[in-house]
């Protein structure tokens, strides 16, 4: 990688302003989550009080648990379907309506969430489905699978097709060639896609609030309804935990995609 040559003062200043713009609010939130004071805006010294409070708040814990379950389930299903869609689009024979299909796959990326949420709600009502864990999971799957498909498809696109041909030439039936050559090479993209789906599901409020039912609120819904009654410092603690979780996931995802782009280059002997 190219070394960044000397930063001028202007560069440093603009970088600082940019980063501050992005991260100062989050930093303040994190700091105030350790606030001992009962008032959100008044600093009363360091304390872990609101974290204890959160772990004692059954409703919040339940909502967090619900969010995690939905995120894991929907990310897993979305990764499966999204990967299959990406493979079909970039490797399959040219079928009729392929352009339409790939266009439709990307539609949810740009569709306002309100519309996605509302249409799914109408569908679930029409099907008379009981709204709760599964309806939210299905809704999140439809949202996130196209993100997975995009990530995996771009990796497949950059992958040399002759690799699969070489595998077939060396005795693999087509499915076997995919499993033994293509899959290991796109695995980092699949992992990154899963992580992306996971975080998207974790922080979604709009679609979840349309498709969930009574008694099965996700964490963002819970937080949003609490905030409407006034911000408790406990919310800061929860948000800090969510930020930490998402940060970890994003770091893992970017490490995975970095590994995929420099496949073998940094292959330290294990």
């Amino acid at each position: 990688m190219r070394k960044v040559s000397r930063l001028s003062r202007f560069n440093i200043a603009s970088l600082a302003v940019g980063l501050a713009f992005l991260y100062l609010p989050i930093l303040i939130l994190v700091i105030y989550s350790f606030n001992a004071s009962r008032l959100v805006t008044v600093w009363g010294g360091w304390s872990l009080r609101w974290y204890y409070e959160f772990f004692g708040d059954r409703a919040m814990i339940e909502a967090s648990w619900m969010s995690l379950r939905v995120a894991v389930a929907s990310a897993t299903i979305a990764t499966l379907i999204g990967t299959l869609a990406a493979v079909a689009l970039s490797r399959g024979e040219r079928f009729r309506g392929r352009t339409l299909f790939s266009g439709m796959l990307y539609a949810p990326l740009v569709m306002p969430e309100v519309i996605t949420g509302l249409s799914l709600l109408l569908l679930f009502v029409a099907l008379n489905a009981e709204r709760g864990f599964w309806t939210v999971t299905i809704a999140h799957t439809t949202l996130t699978m196209c993100f997975v498909a995009v990530v995996v498809q771009s990796r497949l696109g950059s992958l040399d097709r002759s690799l699969e041909e070489a595998a077939m030439d060396l005795g693999c039936a087509p499915v076997r060639a995919f499993l033994s050559v293509t899959l290991p090479l796109i695995a980092p993209a699949i992992v990154a896609g899963w992580m992306l789906a996971f975080t998207l599901s974790l922080d979604d409020l709009v679609i979840a609030s349309f498709t969930t039912g009574p008694g099965s609120a996700t964490l963002p819904i819970r937080i949003y309804s609490e905030v409407r009654l006034g911000v408790k410092p406990e919310i800061n603690a929860i948000c800090t935990l969510v930020i930490a979780l998402i940060a970890i996931v994003i770091v893992i995802a970017s490490l995975a995609s970095k590994l995929s782009s420099s496949q073998g280059e940094s292959a330290a002997p294990l």
Partner: protein
């Protein structure tokens, strides 16, 4: 279930391939093979026999269908028409893994997630060979292509030349009846390419294997192949040995594609014993040996390779001192192109045309060299001319 059959096939072929055809029969017979992509006829009725142990080159400009033909042999494309017989068995519709044919890809297509050793062993594992046998075969291949000490490297830790060797070893490991090489040396620099050409030829002779190489580089084809098939617009234009291809090209297109050539369009002809006296606009009257196939009334050209055109200040002389050359063209040197081993002179003829002469620089000091605008005589023997139908 469906996985079983190919695997046993592959095992048989990796174990040595005992289904060689009877003596005299070609190993590979291509019969009227055609392939159309949309409205583009990439390969248009190609028929070709290739003997076991032959080093065959498919030569042609890009887009001539040579790679498509190779891909049909490997099984990546199915021909729309025709048959591909390997050892007497039609394999035209067989899948790549069902054919005892291996291919070396132009970009090598090494598996980036596998080490050199695992790349070479890949096809052997799929053939169901025992572990010990695989290890022995990989070691043999590594020694064969001189990759010792690099077995644990990944492809991107290798140089271009080393990658090329891994690709070759991987394709050879299964001991295919037929090895296909798609522009195998295109990515190497000139020096490495030349030494690798020699190594490939040695290897092919030592293993007694049948090689089909696709290339757009005529020197490469000439150097390595026993026979060359020149392709143009999906058709085989000529199949011949390197010498015949160069000295007796069958058409004007081939003559121009393979090497440099001077061409003079004929306007009239007159028979004179075993010779033809041809009237040309650009070079006046030329005397040529009568072609084996009479030209009849069709239009034709007289062709002469630049290295067969001699130059001198005074006129035609032979080694013995007496005049043999009948074709004598007067002109002035219009262009000089020094190439090291040879110099190419362009001579502007008094009759209006141009002729190129390639002269070996046999002396270090330029006492023999001609200078620009110098009056010169270009001459050549009738036997060195080729008559080509236009």
């Amino acid at each position: 279930m469906t996985d079983e059959l190919p695997r046993t096939n592959a095992a048989a072929h990796a174990a040595g391939g005992d289904s060689h055809p009877a003596a005299g029969e070609p190993l590979l017979r291509i019969e009227g093979v055609a392939k159309t992509f949309g409205t583009f006829r990439a390969v248009d009725g190609v028929s070709l026999d290739i003997k076991a142990g032959e080093f065959f080159a498919l030569l042609g400009p890009s887009g001539c269908g040579k790679t498509t033909l190779l891909r049909m042999l490997a099984g990546f494309e199915a021909p729309d028409e025709g048959r591909i017989l390997l050892g007497g068995k039609d394999v035209a519709q067989a899948l790549p893994h069902e054919r005892p044919i291996n291919m070396m890809f132009q970009n090598y297509a090494l598996f980036p997630h596998l080490t050199v050793r695992d790349n070479i062993a890949f096809g052997l594992k799929r053939a169901g060979m025992a572990r010990a046998d695989i290890a022995a075969r990989v070691a043999e291949m590594v020694a064969l292509v001189k990759l010792d000490g690099l077995e644990k490297r990944k492809p991107d830790q290798l140089s271009g030349g080393q990658r090329q060797r891994v690709a070759l070893a991987r394709a050879l490991a299964r001991r295919p009846q037929l090895l296909l090489l798609d522009e195998p040396l295109a990515a190497l620099d000139k020096k490495l390419r030349e030494s690798t050409q020699g190594e490939l030829m040695q290897l092919q002779r030592r293993l007694g294997m049948t090689f089909i190489i696709v290339t757009h580089d005529q020197e490469e084809a000439m150097t390595m192949a026993d026979r060359i098939g020149v392709m143009n617009a999906g058709k085989l234009a000529q199949v011949a040995g390197p010498r015949e291809l160069y000295e007796a090209p069958r058409s004007r297109w081939i003559a121009e594609f393979v090497g440099d050539i001077n061409l003079f369009d004929a306007e009239s002809k007159l028979r004179d014993g075993h010779r033809l006296v041809v009237g040309t606009r650009d070079a006046g009257k030329l005397v040529v040996a009568e072609p084996r196939q009479p030209v009849g009334e069709s239009r034709f050209s007289v062709a002469i390779r630049p290295e067969k055109v001699k130059l001198s200040r005074r006129g035609p002389v032979s080694e013995a001192g007496h005049e043999t050359a009948i074709n004598r063209l007067d002109g002035v040197i219009a262009d000089i192109c020094y190439l090291g081993g040879t110099t190419t002179y362009k001579v502007k003829l008094d009759t209006g045309g141009m002729v190129q002469a390639s002269v070996a620089n046999s002396a270090r000091l330029d006492v023999d060299a001609y200078s620009l605008n110098q009056q010169i005589v270009a001459w050549f023997s009738p036997d060195d001319c080729v008559v080509l139908p236009s």
